[in-house]
C-alpha cells in the first residue's frame, strides 16, 4: 500500500515538473527549527518554538497587529462595562474546528477555564476573574473582581495563552500538555503528524474561515497558500545554514550574528530580522543564599558589569544588539529610562567598595548557566571575568538546560542563573513579574506596584507605573537585563510575502513560494 503510494507520487511528481515548470500556489514549506518543542499545547507551553508551529493551528480570541496592539481574531468585538468589571465578548459565527465542528461559546468557556486554571500565563488574568460564562451561543461574559487593564494583551498573546480548543478536548485536561491526537484548532493549517526527530507536519485547512480586513501583523485576513508546512528539527546551526544555502530548506531560524554580514551579501539567501528583540536575564535568588534580601550586594554586582563586551562576543555585529537597559525597546510604548543609568556601569572599583559595604567577604556566589544556548554561555564567561575583577568569588556552574531547570527550582542550589526572555507586548508578561518564577521576587514594594499596574486600564497611567516598576528592578535587582538581541532568520529568496521583519514568531499564512 505504502509502496504503491510512493511509486505513484514519484511518477506523478516527475510528470508534473516535466509538464509544468511554473510557479503556482501550493507546495511545501520546509522550515529548519532549532529542535523539537516539548508540546504544541499553547495553554501550558511557553516555548517560542512551539508557538512558531502552533499559531498556524490554534487561534485565540485576539491577536496583535503590526504595532503590537490587540485586535480581534476569533472574537468579533467586545463591550466592557463602565466599572471595568464585566467584559462581554462577541464571537465570530463562521468558525469551524479542524474536526468539522462549529466553534461556539461552549468551546471558548471551556478553553478559557482550563487555561485560567492550568495555563502558564492564565493565573495572571484569572487571579481577578470571578466567572466566565456563555451568555449566548456566540457570546461570552467574563466577570472580574477588580478592573484588569492588560486583559486583552494577555489574551492576544498566544504563547502560554488562551488558544481556543474544542470543549471535548479540554474537558478533563489538566496541567499536563494535551496529546498530539487532540491538536484540533481553528487556524489556516491543521496538524497532520509528528514524527520524532523528523518533522512536525501541518497541512492546509480548506474550510478555514479567515477574519476580515487587510492583513496587518497577525491581524486581518489569513490565506494559506502552501499545501504543507514541514517543521524539521535541525539542531546544528551550521547544518541549518548549509541546508538553506543548498536549497534543502526554505526557512531556517536562529542564525548566529557573526554570519549576518556574509548571509546579507549572499544572493541565495534572504535575511529577516525579528522585530521584537530577545534579551538575556541574570536572575538573583531572593529566597536563599548571600543575595537574599541583600539589595546592596546585588547592586554591587550590577555595578561591576559592563554589558557591551558580552554582547560583542556573544552576538557580534553592532546592528544586531543594543546595550539598552529599558525592558522594552526604544520606540515601543513601554520604553522607559527609569533606572537605566545603572544598567551597564562596569565600574570594578565602585563595585568592590559597594560589596564591602554590603558585608561581602568573598563568599562563593554560584552562577548557573547552560551550554544549550551559546549566547548564554558566552555572556556568562564575560560576566564572570568582570565580576572576578571586582573581587567577587564566582563559582560558574555549567549544565545542560534540563539540569539547570531542575536546579533553579531549588533555592539552595544557586545564587545567579542565566536565561533569556522573548519579546512581549505587555510588561506584565515578563517573567520577573511572576512571583513563582525562580528567583521568587516578592517584595512588598513590588506587590504594591503590581496591584496598581494591573488595576489601571488607562494606558498613560499604566506606562507611568511600569516606569516605576522598572526603577524598582534596578534598585532591588531581582534580575539583570543583559541588553537587546535582534535575532534573525534566513529564508530562500523564492518565498513571497515574508515582509521586512518578523513580528514575534514567523508566520506562513499570506506567504507563498
Amino acid at each position: 500500500m505504502k509502496l504503491r503510494n510512493w511509486a505513484k507520487t514519484t511518477v506523478l511528481a516527475g510528470a508534473m515538473t516535466a509538464i509544468a515548470g511554473f510557479a503556482f500556489a501550493g507546495g511545501t514549506l520546509r522550515y529548519a527549527t532549532v529542535g523539537e518543542p516539548p508540546s504544541l499545547d499553547q495553554h501550558v507551553v511557553t516555548s517560542d518554538l512551539a508557538t512558531t508551529i502552533a499559531h498556524h493551528i490554534f487561534e485565540g480570541l485576539y491577536t496583535f497587529d503590526s504595532t503590537n496592539s490587540p485586535v480581534p481574531l476569533l472574537a468579533s468585538g467586545e463591550i466592557v462595562s463602565e466599572d471595568g468589571k464585566t467584559i462581554v465578548i462577541a464571537l465570530r459565527d463562521d468558525v469551524t474546528f479542524h474536526n468539522g465542528q462549529a466553534m461556539t461559546s461552549a468551546d471558548v468557556v471551556a478553553s478559557l477555564n482550563r487555561w485560567g486554571k492550568y495555563g502558564s500565563r492564565g493565573g495572571l488574568l484569572f487571579g481577578n476573574v470571578e466567572s466566565v460564562e456563555a451568555s449566548g451561543p456566540y457570546e461570552v461574559t467574563i466577570r472580574l473582581s477588580s478592573p484588569f487593564g492588560p486583559w486583552k494583551n494577555i489574551m492576544a498573546f498566544i504563547n502560554g495563552g488562551p488558544a481556543i480548543y474544542p470543549a471535548s478536548v479540554v474537558e478533563g485536561a489538566g496541567k499536563e500538555p494535551i496529546a498530539p491526537e487532540n491538536y484540533i484548532g481553528t487556524g489556516p493549517y491543521k496538524f497532520e503528524e509528528w514524527q520524532a526527530n523528523r518533522h512536525v507536519e501541518l497541512i492546509r485547512y480548506d474550510d478555514y474561515a479567515s477574519p476580515s480586513g487587510d492583513a496587518d501583523g497577525y491581524g486581518g485576513a489569513r490565506v494559506a497558500d502552501f499545501d504543507t508546512l514541514e517543521f524539521i528539527p535541525v539542531p546544528d546551526v551550521g547544518t541549518r545554514v548549509a541546508g538553506l544555502k543548498a536549497g534543502d530548506y526554505d526557512y531556517a531560524e536562529s542564525i548566529p550574528g557573526d554570519l549576518y554580514a556574509d548571509l546579507e551579501a549572499d544572493s541565495s539567501v534572504t535575511t529577516i530580522l525579528n522585530g521584537g528583540p530577545i534579551f538575556g536575564l541574570v536572575f538573583m535568588n531572593s529566597k536563599d543564599g548571600p543575595l537574599k534580601e541583600n539589595f546592596a550586594l546585588r547592586r554591587a554586582i550590577q555595578t561591576a558589569i559592563n554589558k557591551t563586551p558580552a554582547l560583542q562576543v556573544a552576538i557580534g555585529p553592532k546592528n544586531l544588539w543594543r546595550a539598552n537597559g529599558s525592558f522594552l525597546p526604544n520606540g515601543n510604548v513601554w520604553y522607559s529610562e527609569s533606572g537605566t543609568e545603572n544598567f551597564s556601569k562596569g565600574d570594578a572599583a565602585a563595585a568592590r567598595a559597594m560589596a564591602k559595604e554590603a558585608g561581602y567577604n568573598g563568599e562563593p556566589i554560584k552562577f548557573m548557566v547552560s551550554t544549550n544556548y551559546p549566547f548564554h554561555y558566552d555572556t556568562a564567561i564575560v560576566y564572570t571575568k568582570q565580576l572576578a575583577q571586582a573581587g567577587f568569588n564566582i563559582d560558574l556552574q555549567v549544565y545542560d538546560w534540563a539540569t539547570l531547570i531542575e536546579k533553579r527550582a531549588q533555592p539552595d542550589q544557586w545564587d545567579l542563573f542565566f536565561t533569556h526572555h522573548g519579546f512581549v507586548p505587555d510588561p506584565i508578561l515578563i517573567s520577573v513579574m511572576n512571583d513563582n518564577y525562580p528567583g521568587w521576587w516578592t517584595t512588598a514594594e513590588k506587590a504594591a506596584l503590581k496591584v496598581r499596574f494591573t488595576e489601571s486600564s488607562d494606558p498613560a497611567e499604566r506606562q507611568a507605573i511600569w516606569s516605576e516598576i522598572q526603577g524598582l528592578i534596578y534598585e532591588q535587582v531581582p534580575t539583570m537585563k543583559t541588553g537587546d538581541v535582534y535575532s534573525y532568520n534566513i529564508a530562500s529568496p523564492k518565498l513571497q510575502g515574508l515582509g521586512e521583519a518578523t513580528l514575534i514568531w514567523p508566520s506562513f499564512w499570506n506567504v507563498s513560494k
Binding site: K175, Q195, V234, P235, G243, A246, A402
Partner: protein, 315 residues
C-alpha cells in the same frame, strides 16, 4: 552448532537483565526530571510534583524498575514522556533511518574496503600497498563530525550534488530517491570503518598466503590461481561478516555524531536527545533494544566466522 547457538542465546538473558538494571540506575541518577522540562518556565513546584506523581516517577526506584520490567516482558516499553507516544513507535520511526544508514554504510565499506584490501595484499610491499594502508589509517584518524562538516560544505553547499541534511522517509514523497539524503552521512560513517576492513582483508590474506594448507594445496599441484581465488573469496566473506559486525556497532556508536551533524532522525540522535530531555522510557527502551541487537549481531558474526574460517571452532 545448534546447541552452541541455543546456549549463547540463553546466556544473553542474565547479561541483558544486568544491563537493564545498570541503564535504569544510570538514567534515573542523572539530575533533572521530565516533569519540569515538560511544564516549562512558569510551573510551580506543586504542579511539577503533581505531574511527577501522575507519571509514576515519585515511586521508589526499585518499584519503578519492576513495573517497567514486567511491562517489557509483556512487550510494552511504555510511553515517551516527551512525544506522548508509545516508545516502540518512537523507536520504529528512528529505526528506518538507522537501518538504511547502516546498510548504505556497509555497502560502501564492502565496495571500497574489500577490493582495496585485496589490491594491497596482492601488491604487498609496493607503493600501491603503502598508499592503501597509509590512506586507510589516515581516514581512521579523522574525527567523524569534522569530516561530515566538510562533506556538507563541499558536496551539498558547494557542488549541490547531494542534500545536506535530514532524511524524509522512503514511504513519503520522493520514495527510494530519498536515499540520496543518506549519501553524505553514509560516506562519513564508512570512512573510518572502510579503513578497518581494508586492513583486515589485507592482513588476513597475507596470513593465509603463508599458511600450511595453501602450501599443501600448491604442493598437491592445484593451480595457483584457483587457490588464490578460492581463498580470496573465503577471506572476502570473512571480511564481510566482520564489516557487518563493525557497522552495526557503529550504527549507534559513531552514528550518534553523524546523525547529529546531518540532522538525521535516527536512533543515535534519539538517544542523545532523550538524555537531554530526560525522557526515561525512551532511553531505557532504546538502549534495551540496542543492546539486544548488538548482542545478536555479535553472535551472528561469531557464527559466520565459524562457518567461514576453518581455524575457528565453536566448542
Amino acid at each position: 552448532m545448534f546447541v552452541y547457538t541455543f546456549n549463547r542465546l540463553l546466556a544473553l538473558i542474565p547479561t541483558l537483565l544486568a544491563a537493564s538494571i545498570l541503564v535504569f540506575l544510570f538514567i534515573h541518577l542523572i539530575p533533572g526530571d521530565p516533569a519540569s522540562i515538560l511544564l516549562g518556565d512558569t510551573a510551580t513546584p506543586e504542579e511539577i510534583a503533581e505531574l511527577t506523581r501522575a507519571m509514576g516517577l515519585d515511586k521508589p526506584l526499585w518499584t519503578q524498575y519492576f513495573i517497567w520490567l514486567s511491562n517489557v516482558v509483556q512487550g510494552d516499553l511504555g510511553t515517551s514522556v516527551f512525544f506522548r507516544e508509545p516508545v516502540l513507535a518512537v523507536i520504529a520511526s528512528g529505526a528506518e533511518t538507522s537501518i538504511l544508514l547502516a546498510c548504505m554504510t556497509m555497502m560502501w565499506i564492502i565496495v571500497l574496503g574489500i577490493p582495496i584490501g585485496i589490491l594491497a595484499a596482492t601488491r604487498h610491499g609496493t607503493w600501491a600497498d603503502q598508499l592503501a594502508s597509509g590512506g586507510a589509517m589516515l581516514f581512521a584518524s579523522v574525527p567523524t563530525f569534522w569530516l561530515g562538516l566538510y562533506l556538507i560544505l563541499i558536496f551539498a553547499v558547494g557542488l549541490g550534488w547531494f542534500p545536506s541534511s535530514g532524511f524524509p522517509s522512503i514511504t513519503d514523497e520522493g520514495g527510494v530517491f530519498n536515499l540520496r539524503y543518506l549519501m553524505l552521512p553514509s560516506l562519513t560513517l564508512a570512512a573510518p570503518n572502510a579503513a578497518l576492513i581494508i586492513r583486515l582483508v589485507r592482513a588476513s590474506m597475507l596470513d593465509v598466503a603463508r599458511e600450511d594448507h595453501v602450501r599443501t594445496a600448491r604442493a598437491k599441484g592445484l593451480h595457483p590461481a584457483r587457490v588464490a581465488i578460492k581463498h580470496i573469496f573465503r577471506n572476502a566473506l570473512i571480511a564481510v561478516a566482520a564489516a557487518f559486525g563493525f557497522t552495526f556497532a557503529a550504527l549507534v556508536s559513531e552514528a550518534v555524531v553523524t546523525e547529529t551533524v546531518f540532522s538525521l532522525p535516527g536512533i543515535g540522535r534519539l538517544v542523545v536527545q532523550s538524555i537531554l530531555r530526560r525522557d526515561y522510557p525512551v532511553i531505557q527502551g532504546v538502549i534495551l533494544i540496542i543492546v539486544i541487537f548488538y548482542m545478536l549481531i555479535n553472535l551472528l558474526v561469531d557464527l559466520a566466522y565459524a562457518r567461514l574460517d576453518p581455524r575457528v571452532s565453536l566448542s
